[in-house]
Each structure stands twice: as structure tokens, then as C-alpha cells.
């Protein structure tokens, strides 16, 4: 729960904790919470919130702790307070199942409403929640083309130029001597960018996994890893030195 601690901390020089990335010529900031900010358009991207994952399991008889939504929303509040974006794009799998937003407890709904006040909010549909959200501010869409970029949940197998996507929950393993550390990461080769999963109970998929094959030019691929309190950028070739 490092992000939660960071969300509560009083950080002076937040810029030092972030990393700069350029996707299809567009400047972006990868922050240690796992959010992407585009300063030129004041647009904030988050992906794979998987809200109400605990409740989704509870519906099927596994009473997982109900705190995942609360924890994810707290971090999101900190991110929004930090960047004060004009537009928020949530890149799909916003809820862990189709009925997640329908059964969302009122206390959580109010927090989302408070966050969305005074901004545009776009819920991109994901494979977990293809029907869009119910009873929440903002609008739902399958994808968004804006400011020279394409925002969608699943990365397309074609070209991928200017694509910002989620879905795969990328993570990377860094290995030095006999120690290795695996962390969620932003992954970009300068053409396409994959977002780390934002939800607190989401797992990760290694960049070397087959599902990632063909998405990136490995020569220029960089992983921006979510460290305990800052982003660490490591070239793909240097991950397992």
C-alpha cells in the first residue's frame, strides 16, 4: 500500500518523482500513482480501476474485504488533487463486473461525484464492464480520439501509433545480482503507451508475457516502474542485467 502512504504524504517537489514520456509526439507525465497526465490538454488518464472487485467476488460467495474500492478512490482523489485536470479518462475495466456501478454503495458514489465536479469525465468501456456505468457523472464510450491520441481499453494489434491503452496490467521485473523486484509499470516505445492497472487489488502481467508480443519495438521500449515513492525508468534491454 505504498501509493496510499504517498497519497497522504506532503510532497513538495512532486515533479522529481515522475517521469517524462513522449507518445506520438505528445508530452506526457507518468506519475508514481500510476496515472498519466498530458499537460498540454490538462487530461488525466487512469486505467483498470476494477472498482468493487471485492463485492464482485462477494456476489459469487467469496467475501473478500470490501476495502478495495475505498483504497482505490483515496489514491484517485490524491491524483486529482495533485494535477487538477480538466478531463479525466478512465480507460476501461472501471468496475470489476457489469453490475458493479449499479450496486455501488452510496458512500463511494458520492466520492466519485465530488471528484468529477467541474471536469469532464469519460468512462471508456472495458471487457469487464462493456455496458458502461450507471448512475455516475460523465459519459461512457468505447474509445476516444482526442488531441492526436487514441484512448481505448484493449491495445489494437494493428499499428498502434498514438494509442494509449490498458487491459494488460503491464509489470516489469528488474534483476540485479541475485535480487529481483517486480512492479507495475507504464510501458512505451514512443509510439504506443500501455497504462499500469490503477486498482489496488489488480495483479500484473510481465512485459515478457506472450500477450505483450508484437505490441512494442523492443529497442526503444522503456518501462517506467512504480517504485515505492517515485517512478524508475528502465530500458527493456536493461531489466535483467
Amino acid at each position: 500500500m505504498n501509493r496510499l502512504a504517498l497519497a497522504n504524504a506532503d510532497v513538495q517537489d512532486f515533479g522529481a518523482l515522475t517521469a517524462r514520456a513522449v507518445v506520438a509526439g505528445v508530452e506526457a507525465v507518468c506519475d508514481p500513482f500510476g496515472a498519466l497526465y498530458l499537460p498540454a490538454t490538462r487530461l488525466l488518464v487512469i486505467s483498470d480501476l476494477h472498482l468493487e472487485k471485492g463485492a464482485a467476488f462477494a456476489r459469487r460467495g467469496m467475501l473478500l474485504p470490501p476495502y478495495d474500492t475505498l483504497a482505490t478512490l483515496r489514491i484517485l482523489e490524491a491524483v486529482i488533487a495533485r494535477h487538477d485536470p480538466a478531463i479525466v479518462v478512465s480507460l476501461g475495466d472501471n468496475f470489476h463486473d457489469r453490475v458493479g456501478s449499479v450496486h455501488l454503495p452510496e458512500i463511494f458514489r458520492q466520492r466519485i461525484e465530488a471528484m468529477a465536479r467541474g471536469r469532464d469525465w469519460i468512462w471508456i468501456n472495458g471487457n469487464h464492464d462493456p455496458d458502461g456505468t450507471t448512475g455516475l457523472p460523465g459519459q461512457s464510450a468505447d474509445e476516444l480520439h482526442y488531441a492526436g491520441l487514441i484512448f481505448r481499453h484493449e491495445p489494437s494489434l494493428a499499428d498502434g501509433a498514438g494509442e494509449i491503452a490498458g487491459h494488460l496490467h503491464p509489470s516489469a521485473t528488474v534483476r540485479r545480482r541475485d535480487k529481483s523486484v517486480r512492479r507495475p509499470c507504464f510501458a512505451t516505445d514512443g509510439r504506443r503507451l500501455l497504462m499500469p492497472a490503477f486498482g489496488v487489488t489488480t495483479g500484473g502481467l510481465d512485459l515478457r508475457h506472450r500477450a505483450m508480443a508484437g505490441l512494442f519495438e523492443r529497442e526503444t521500449l522503456v518501462a517506467h516502474l512504480l517504485g515505492r515513492d517515485r517512478i524508475y525508468s528502465v530500458r527493456f534491454a536493461n531489466l535483467l542485467a
Binding site: 467475501l63 523486484v181 515513492d229 528502465v234
Partner: protein, 847 residues
């Protein structure tokens, strides 16, 4: 069924068919068999303690058999008769074995008795039939009992129950399985209030624990079963292998002794070779075949091998087609293994009782002495073997103590009882309190467990509508729907599968890419594979394998052409040194008179140690500091077992870090712990910055422990077990088979969320409790810190001491413990910057 022709017969309680049967074979029942029968007839519940081969099982069944003879066969068409005797064994193979062994005398005596097994392998149709028409004697396992009592028909099925026989009780009761069984027994007592229990056990340290376990507890009374002691049996002949070769300083392979071990195998009919870990089993097997010039049939048996392969070895063993089997604890329990005439124990036995039980595997005839050879793998183990050997002759016992009933198991049972019928909370509390393991459970804790079962028991109450059990208008708890009961049945049990990956052997084709298919070799823990990089080699199933990668839930490996695996090996199932043996080794170390029994090279080693440094007294903690290379070392001779040492190492490095001494790493063995640092540790301790007393203060089990637990993977693994047993996470889900891999990932994240939002949650309480005695061995560390208070002796040396050699040699061989964090990321990230600035040559040439 064993019996002897010794004339111990006396006019007794045995009815005619039995006396005739014994007489026809020239046998006579033994004194303890008759004593047990007589006392059981008088209505007592009993614990029989006897060595292997003393006719324990027959003794356990005599009260049932004679009672059934007196009752006679139930005439067809009479009212439903439930089972008469329930027999519970820890292994289904054992239940099947007993059925075979018992069927014979029943048939020969033409007793009016039906006997059947019910295990996980019993087909559905037979289970159905058993429910309608139960046998007189049902042989089963703890998990099957839990299933039977969670059924609505349980009251009818068990209403006539007279006897419950527990085999190998000593091995059942110390685990969570024992807790589940204790709760099952409490339920049986309610269904059949007059039932008597009979426990069969090998020798244990605290028989009274077992006797209480067998009896129903009532507040204010001390109820326990009666005790029947069998004969003590012939003393085993145990020797320590006296090798001409140089005994290594460290390591576990005992490679030096292979020619002598091979010679011993040649000189016996069948030898069982026991080792402590799977990796040792692999290594030993490979070494033996390297020198197996006569190609003697030598086989390998451990829990990670493919089941089919294990069954093949077992069958060959039973038919006496093998000359030797290399095995781990999977062969520990009492199945008859053919004609074993020698047990070879490679590596130290780690516990005196474990050694005694393993030796019991040789020669099932109790009046002939068993033969065993101990093969220590290094010099410390020579002392440990000698201590174990002394203990065996003294009859010392160090079986683990019984632990308080676990809360996760209780949660599982509560759900099971709701599946059987709606229950009243007070009545169920009274029932579970009658089990010795749960006799002191506070009422309030029980309520929290019930709440947990119902809605997860969270302070944030958002799951009322998803509750698994609900209170009816009458105030009874009942299951919400049929799916809950189905889920319960699928998740039942306390043995949680570790996330395992299948090992598949693949070939590289001409273009260097990996083929598909290939033979399945067995399973390995995912945790082991996480430490490996493609190209690393390791030993498994007697082969040196090259790790290629992971594809879905399979681990792909190819045949390696080297003989020397790089990664030490797959170390599943390691026992720590028992407290009792540790104490014995400390005593031996402090008493030169006892060194006489040790080989010359070991004696010399100890003498030089006392010249250049010192040997600690029994209650003293010796710490040596010395420089080596550019580093400063500290070696702590705590003798508390590897797990406790690892925990100590984690906590001490945190403290040294805080003191600014720059610790770099540590490595732990069963006997000692070595920590190395950039700063001069010895000088710092002399200047009392920090003082050793302060460094080793018991308060390290406070905040430091808490802070470390936050990150510890060991606690996460413990949490996962608790969560599965308690029913929070499914082991399997109807129609949706989860792989162990997926369950682990989410359990870790759930742990993090729960810990930061509700640290007092009952499941975290259960986890901490488990960790204290399990993987972290905090309990033992606590005892040690209390013991050494004011007894720490520090020696500053200018070089490594003889006693330090074993642990120092482990550095580099063992992976260095310590938790890797952002420092690793920072290092990698700096590479990138340096490279970008053109300061770093190409990484390939740098390495």
C-alpha cells in the same frame, strides 16, 4: 495383523471365535490387547501407545469386533442401523491397507461384520449406497468425516455409533487437520452421546495432551482417556557412519560417504534411505546411480514427483523388487513397506522422535531390533546425530506440542455445521468447547468467527445482502442458498495446495526455439521458480534440467548437458532442528567429556575452536566478529533452527542498518547465523554503539517485527493458507477451476488491503498466530532472546574461527536472504542515466 506365540494368554474377555482363531495359528493375544479390550468393555475411552509392529491396529478393533459379535448380524428388513465403528487414519492408503488386513481375520472367523472404506477415491454410487445401507465399520479420513457430518442425514447415519478409532493419532493432532478432526469428534459426541474413543499412537512427549484430546471437555473438569501402554519392543541398533573420508564443513549432500552408503545397500535386502528435503533426495539419488556399478534397482520417492511414478515405486517396493528407495517424509507414516531390513538416514534427523519413527519403518517385527545407519552430511551434523542417538537410547521424545485450535479451521467447521442443519449459536459454542483444542476459546471470539462466516466480519458492513449464512426468525443460523453448501464441499479440508507449476520437459529444435509437448516430470512450487532466470540449471527427478521459461501454468525445462546444477536445487519441505536436539547439541559442545563419542576430525575441530576462540556454555550465546576481505562479519551461534535464525537475521539487519553499520546480507543455518557489513561490527559493539545487549533485546519482537511483517512474503503465504481454509478464497470453485497461481496473486493484494484498513480483522489474527509458530518461528526466537539475556559473550577475532567455517561456506551457496526493494530499481534506473550520458560501456562487455 501381528501377534506372537509368546504365552501371554490369560483367561480373558475374548469370545470363542477369537480364541479359536488365535489358537489355530499358535498365537496368543498380547497383554496390552487384552487390557485395552477389558477396559473398553468397562466403558472407558483409551489411548494405546505402542511401537510399530506391536499389533496396535488389531488391539484398536478388538472392542468393536467383539461387540459386533455379541450383537450379531442385523436381520434384513429391520429398522435402519447406522455405523457401529468409525476408523480415521491420516492417509487414505492406510485406510485401504487396514481394510485388506482386517478383512482376512473377519472372513476366517466368519464374523457377522461388514467393513468398508470411504475416501476421496470412493465412487459416487458407492457413497450413495453407504448412506442408505451403512457398513458396521467404516474406514475413512478426517476430510471425509467433515463431509459426512456436514450432511443433513448425519444424525441418522451416526446414531448407533459406539467406537471411533484414531490411527497414528500422534501425527494427526499437531496440525490443522487435527483441529478439524477434533471439531468433528465434538459433533459425533453430540450425535451419539455414548460413544467411546480409542487412540493409537507411537510414543509421544506428552501423552496427556492426546488423552485429553480423546475425551469430551466440560468446564471445571479435567477429562481424559485412560492410558494403555504396549511393550517397548527391541532396542534398535543404530550406528553413525564412521567414514574414512574427510567430513565436510558444510553442505547437505553427504557426497563423501557415497561409497560406504552403497556398500551398506549391497549388504542388505532392502534399504530405505531417508533425507530431509526433496533436493537432498534428488542429489543422493543421482550420486548413488553415478556409482551404481551393479545397477542395483534403486528408486526415488518424494512428494513432487508425478503420482503415477510414485505409485509405481510403491508397488515395486511392496513386491520386494527394489534394493533401495531414496525418500522424504512422504514415506514417514505406517504403511507396510515390504521387507525393509535397513534404514539409512542421510543428513541429521532434526528431531529425536522423527528418527525413532523412521527407524520403525525397518523390520515390522517388534521383537527383532531394527537396524539404522546415520550419515551426517557435515561436522555439526555429526554432533546432531550423536545427540539424536543418545536421545533414542534414552527414549527421549520431542514431538511438537499441541497447539490451540486455529480460527480459520473453526470458520470452516461453522459453515459445515450450517450446511448440516440450522444451528443455535450458543449450542454450537458449547459443542465446540467440548473439543480439547477449543476448550478455552472465548465466547466473543466464537461470535466473531460466526460473523466472519456470515458476511466476512468487516467493520465496513456492505455485504449483508451477500451473506453466506443468515439468522432465521427463530434465531438460528442457516445457509443462504444451496450454492454455499456446494462451495463448502469443494473447499473443505486444511491442506492448502501451494501454487505449483507443472514441469514439462521440452526439446529445442534446430532453429533454437522450444518445441511443444514433452513429458510431465512433476510439480514445483512457484516460489522456487521465481528465483530463477532462463538458462539456470537445477536438479529434479534425478536429472539436471535447464530452466527455459513459464508458459501459462507450466514450467518449461530442457535437458541440461552439464552435470553440475547451478541453483543448489529444489528445497521443498525442510524441517528445522528440534528444540530438544538443539539443547543436546549445545550441551555436548560445552562438555569435552562427551566429545569422546565423536570422530577424531570433529574432536580436533572443537579443540582448535576452544584454543583460538571459545566454546559457549550451554546457556551462553557466543558472538564472534572478524574481518574478511573488505567486509566485517558477525557470527551468532544460537542453535535455534534455520527458521528462527532467518527471522533473527531479518530483524538484526534492520537494527544494524538503523545504527548506521551498513549490513549487506546474512545467511542462516540450523546452528548459526552470519551477518556481514561494510562497517567494523566488532568495534561498534565494543564501543557499545549499539551494545549487544541492546541489539538482542526482546523488544525487537515489537515494532521491528511489525514493520518487517508489513513486507514479509512469509506472512503473505501464511495469510493465503488461512484465507483458503477459512473459506475466504476458494481453493476450487464450481465450474471455474482456478489455478494456484491466480489465487496467490490476489491473496497478496487482499492481505495488503485488509492490513491497511482493518488490521484487527480475525483472519489477520489467525495469520499472526500461525506465523508465530510456523514459517517465522517467532515463538522460538522469543524463548531464545529471553534465555540469552545477560549471557551474551562477544569475541573479537582477527580472522575466521573454526566454528564459523560451516556457515561462512554457505555464503554464495545459499541465496542471500534479505528483501529486495527499491534499491534494486534505483540501481537499474541509474544504469539508464549513465548509459544515456555515455559513461557506461555496452552492458555485455561490462559483465
Amino acid at each position: 495383523m501381528n501377534a506372537t506365540d509368546s504365552a501371554t494368554a490369560r483367561p480373558g474377555p475374548l469370545p470363542k471365535p477369537f480364541t479359536d482363531w488365535f489358537a489355530a495359528r499358535g498365537w496368543a493375544p498380547r497383554a496390552h490387547q487384552l487390557e485395552l479390550l477389558e477396559r473398553a468393555r468397562a466403558g472407558e475411552s483409551l489411548l494405546l501407545i505402542a511401537p510399530t509392529g506391536a499389533g496396535k491396529t488389531l488391539a484398536g478393533f478388538l472392542p468393536s469386533l467383539t461387540d459386533l459379535v455379541a450383537r450379531g448380524r442385523v436381520p434384513p428388513g429391520s429398522a435402519f442401523t447406522g455405523i457401529h465403528t468409525l476408523y480415521i487414519s491420516p492417509l487414505k492408503a492406510l485406510a485401504v491397507d487396514i481394510e485388506r488386513n482386517l478383512a482376512k481375520p473377519i472372513e476366517e472367523m466368519r464374523l457377522p461384520v461388514t467393513i468398508e472404506t470411504r475416501t476421496g477415491d470412493t465412487p459416487q454410487s458407492k457413497r450413495q449406497r453407504q448412506r442408505l445401507n451403512p457398513p458396521d465399520i467404516l474406514l475413512t479420513t478426517p476430510e471425509q468425516l467433515a463431509l459426512l457430518i456436514a450432511n443433513g442425514e448425519a444424525p441418522r447415519f451416526f446414531k448407533d455409533l459406539k467406537f471411533v478409532v484414531f490411527d497414528e493419532l500422534h501425527s494427526l493432532v499437531t496440525s490443522k487437520r487435527g483441529h478439524l478432526l477434533a471439531l468433528g469428534l465434538a459433533r459425533l459426541r453430540r450425535l451419539a452421546p455414548g460413544l467411546q474413543t480409542i487412540g493409537l499412537s507411537a510414543t509421544v512427549a506428552e501423552p496427556m495432551d492426546l488423552r485429553r484430546w480423546l475425551a469430551g471437555q466440560v468446564p471445571g473438569e479435567d477429562n481424559h482417556a485412560g492410558l494403555v501402554l504396549g511393550p517397548s519392543g527391541a532396542k534398535p541398533i543404530i550406528t553413525i557412519l564412521k567414514s574414512e573420508e574427510h567430513i565436510p564443513w558444510s553442505g547437505h549432500s553427504a557426497r563423501y560417504a557415497m561409497p560406504e552408503v552403497y556398500q551398506a545397500i549391497r549388504e542388505h535386502r532392502t534399504a530405505l534411505l531417508f533425507v530431509n528435503t526433496r533436493s537432498q533426495a534428488e542429489m543422493l539419488f543421482q550420486e548413488l546411480w553415478r556409482i551404481n556399478e551393479e545397477t542395483l534397482p534403486i528408486a526415488l520417492h518424494h512428494g513432487s514427483l508425478d503420482v503415477a511414478q510414485r505409485r509405481k515405486v510403491e508397488a515395486a517396493m511392496a513386491e520386494n523388487r527394489l534394493r533401495a528407495v531414496v525418500a522424504t517424509s512422504t514415506l514417514d507414516l505406517g504403511i507396510d513397506w515390504g521387507d525393509v531390513d535397513l534404514v539409512i538416514h542421510v543428513g541429521a534427523p532434526k528431531g529425536a522422535s522423527r528418527l525413532a519413527q523412521r527407524i520403525g519403518r525397518a523390520n515390522h517385527r517388534m521383537d527383532e531390533p531394527s537396524r539404522a545407519i546415520l550419515v551426517p552430511a557435515n561436522r555439526f551434523e555429526v554432533m546432531e546425530c550423536q545427540a539424536a542417538l543418545d536421545a533414542n537410547y534414552l527414549g527421549a521424545q520431542d514431538t511438537p506440542p499441541m497447539t490451540a485450535g486455529a480460527l480459520d479451521v473453526l470458520a470452516q467447521h461453522v459453515l459445515g455445521m450450517a450446511c448440516a442443519a440450522a444451528f443455535d449459536e450458543d449450542a454450537l459454542f458449547a459443542e465446540i468447547s467440548s473439543a480439547a483444542s477449543y476448550a478455552v476459546l472465548p465466547r466473543e471470539t466464537f461470535s466473531r468467527v460466526v460473523q466472519f462466516v456470515a458476511t466476512g466480519g468487516y467493520a465496513l458492513k456492505t455485504y449483508e445482502r451477500y451473506a453466506k449464512i443468515r439468522k432465521t426468525k427463530e434465531g438460528l443460523w442457516r445457509v443462504s442458498n444451496l450454492q454455499v453448501a456446494q462451495q463448502y464441499r469443494l473447499n473443505l479440508g486444511t491442506i492448502v495446495e501451494m501454487p505449483m507449476l507443472n514441469l514439462r520437459l521440452v526439446k529445442r529444435n534446430a532453429r533454437g526455439s522450444l518445441g511443444r509437448g514433452g513429458a510431465a516430470l512433476g510439480k514445483v512450487e512457484e516460489y522456487f521458480l521465481e528465483t530463477m532466470a532462463p538458462g539456470d540449471t537445477f536438479l529434479f527427478s534425478g536429472k539436471v534440467l535447464r530452466f527455459e521459461g513459464i508458459r501459462e501454468n507450466e514450467c518449461l525445462v530442457s535437458q541440461a548437458f552439464s552435470q553440475d546444477p547451478k541453483v543448489p536445487a529444489y528445497a521443498g519441505g525442510k524441517f528445522p532442528l528440534s528444540t530438544y536436539l538443539a539443547e543436546q547439541v549445545r550441551t555436548m559442545l560445552a562438555d569435552p567429556d562427551r566429545w569422546r563419542a565423536l570422530p577424531g576430525q570433529v574432536r580436533d575441530w572443537l579443540s582448535i575452536q576452544s584454543d583460538v576462540s571459545m566454546l559457549p556454555r550451554r546457556d551462553e550465546l557466543l558472538i564472534e566478529t572478524f574481518p574478511r576481505g573488505s567486509r566485517h562479519y558477525m557470527v551468532i551461534y544460537a542453535f535455534e533452527g534455520r527458521l528462527a535464525h532467518q527471522t533473527l537475521g531479518m530483524l538484526l539487519t534492520r537494527r544494524l542498518e538503523r545504527a548506521g553499520l551498513k549490513p549487506l546480507g546474512f545467511v542462516a543455518t540450523d546452528y548459526s547465523l552470519a551477518i556481514w557489513a561494510l562497517d567494523d561490527l566488532g568495534a561498534a559493539f565494543r564501543a557499545r554503539r549499539p551494545s549487544l545487549g541492546g541489539l538482542f533485546d526482546e523488544d525487537m519482537l515489537g515494532d521491528d517485527l511489525e514493520a518487517w511483517l508489513d513486507e514479509s512474503w512469509m506472512l503473505k503465504r501464511t495469510f493465503r493458507n488461512c484465507a483458503v481454509i477459512a473459506g475466504l478464497i476458494d481453493q476450487r470453485h464450481p465450474g471455474k477451476e482456478k489455478t494456484g497461481r491466480q489465487v496467490t496473486v490476489s491473496a497478496d493484494l487482499i492481505y495488503d488491503v485488509l492490513r491497511s484498513h482493518e488490521p484487527d480483522h480475525i483472519l489477520l489474527e489467525a495469520t499472526r498466530h500461525d506465523a508465530a509458530t510456523g514459517l517465522l518461528d517467532i515463538e522460538r526466537l522469543g524463548f531464545m532472546l529471553a534465555r540469552i539475556k545477560g549471557h551474551i559473550t562477544h569475541r573479537t577475532l582477527d580472522r575466521i574461527s573454526p566454528l564459523a567455517i560451516p556457515v561462512m561456506l554457505e555464503i554464495g551457496r545459499e541465496t542471500v536472504s534479505g528483501e529486495a526493494h527499491d534499491a534494486v530499481l534505483a540501481e537499474a534506473a541509474e544504469d539508464l542515466i549513465a548509459e544515456a550520458l555515455g559513461e557506461l560501456a555496452a552492458p555485455e562487455t561490462e559483465r
